[in-house]
């Protein structure tokens, strides 16, 4: 095993340990999936010839390409899905904030100001700053 492979393995191992420690007691199923994927990755880092052999089986020249192609496709898809979710969440947040604003809209009335000598909307501090 060369230096680069050792560093990668250390990184994978470090990430797994870090995630188990910081998420302790939470998201155990997600952590198990992550650990399984990382163990698979560590295997191919430690034994790159196995990845190449698998790649040859399906007609791909190099082991790294065998792993890289599906990984890039998956990442692009994940990126688009995440963007879409953020977009939809932002729209929902906007509608919520807008509903609050529309509900609390206040009119500055000429009659009320003239009749009472002051703006009734200022009758208490909360309506003056209309915190919602």
């Amino acid at each position: 095993m060369n230096f680069a492979a050792s560093c990668l393995l250390a990184l994978v191992f470090g990430l797994v340990v870090h995630d188990w420690l910081t998420h302790r007691g939470k998201n155990r199923r997600a952590l198990l999936v992550e650990s399984a994927v990382f163990v698979g990755g560590a295997f191919f880092i430690a034994f790159p010839d196995r990845a190449t052999a698998l790649a040859h089986l399906v007609g791909i020249g190099r082991g790294v390409d065998f792993l890289l192609y599906p990984l890039v496709i998956w990442l692009v898809r994940e990126s688009l899905l995440a963007r879409r979710l953020r977009f939809e969440d932002a729209e929902r947040m906007t509608e919520l904030a807008r509903a609050v604003a529309l509900r609390g809209a206040q009119r500055l009335e000429v009659e009320t100001v003239h009749s009472s000598g002051r703006n009734p909307l200022q009758s208490d501090g909360s309506s003056a700053s209309f915190n919602t």
């Binding site: 963007r83 939809e88 807008r98 206040q106 500055l108």
Partner: protein, 240 residues
């Protein structure tokens, strides 16, 4: 000319304390010669919320309806809130969108409203033909933005991203804004273009830049944000 005409002004505001007061005061002064001006003011989550006491006193021809976003969403979102506020009121003769930072003139707003009374559905302001003091860098940016918008919308308009516009009621009903930030200006043109049945004109207006408006206005880097927002809406905006 506008004696019997009621005008709704849709105005987003974010941290515009001083300029907002001046802008509203200028609208109140021209309102006396109209059938009434109602400002639909949307405070877009300003750090210091707009206070009712800071607004000009209402008169028989001038009033303000104030709504406040609990968080800052962006100018497009605030404009859409103002649009919905205005549409739930009885019909006005004309609806004008106007910035609160003092760079738009109340008399220009009334001139655009007059064009709507004259039969136009949508009136866009053109700062290049008015008495504007556009800084050179901003002029270059607007030139390219204009080309981009012409290609995108097919509308042969001279100016781009000018917040001073006027609409008839059916014009306003046709533009449901989904772009929260600055891309709404391009989106409005696209919606107007797609509506097809709307008559569109462009009139000269004066846009006066000051240090204040330039510090808060759109920057060159904002162009990239606008392109990103337009691309995201193109990709994901069909779902609603």
């Amino acid at each position: 000319m506008l004696r019997d005409v009621s005008v709704a002004v849709l105005m987003p505001a974010y941290d515009e304390a001083v300029t907002l007061t001046r802008t509203l005061a200028s609208l109140a002064s021209v309102a006396a010669s109209t059938g009434g001006v109602t400002v639909f003011l949307v405070d877009d989550g300003s750090r210091l919320p707009v206070q009712m006491t800071s607004l000009p006193e209402p008169t028989p021809t001038f009033t303000v309806i104030l709504a406040r976003h609990p968080i800052n969403l962006g100018q497009g979102a605030a404009l859409e809130t103002a649009r919905r506020l205005a549409l739930r009121e009885p019909a006005f003769s004309a609806y004008v969108t106007m910035d609160a930072d003092g760079q738009h003139q109340a008399c220009d707003a009334m001139a655009l409203a007059q064009a709507v009374i004259g039969g136009a559905d949508v009136v866009f302001g053109d700062r290049s033909r008015g008495d504007s003091n556009v800084p050179p860098f901003r002029a270059v940016l607007l030139f390219f933005a204009g080309i981009f918008e012409r290609v995108l919308t097919g509308l042969p308009l001279s100016d781009a991203h000018n917040g001073l516009r006027a609409f008839s009621r059916r014009g306003l009903e046709a533009i449901s804004i989904r772009q929260n930030r600055m891309a709404h200006a391009t989106e409005i043109k696209r919606l107007v273009s797609e509506a097809r049945f709307l008559s569109v004109v462009e009139l000269p207006v004066s846009v006066r830049y000051s240090r204040e408006t330039l510090s808060k206005g759109q920057r060159g880097s904002g162009a990239a944000d606008i392109l990103r927002d337009l691309a995201l809406q193109y990709l994901f905006g069909e779902s609603r």
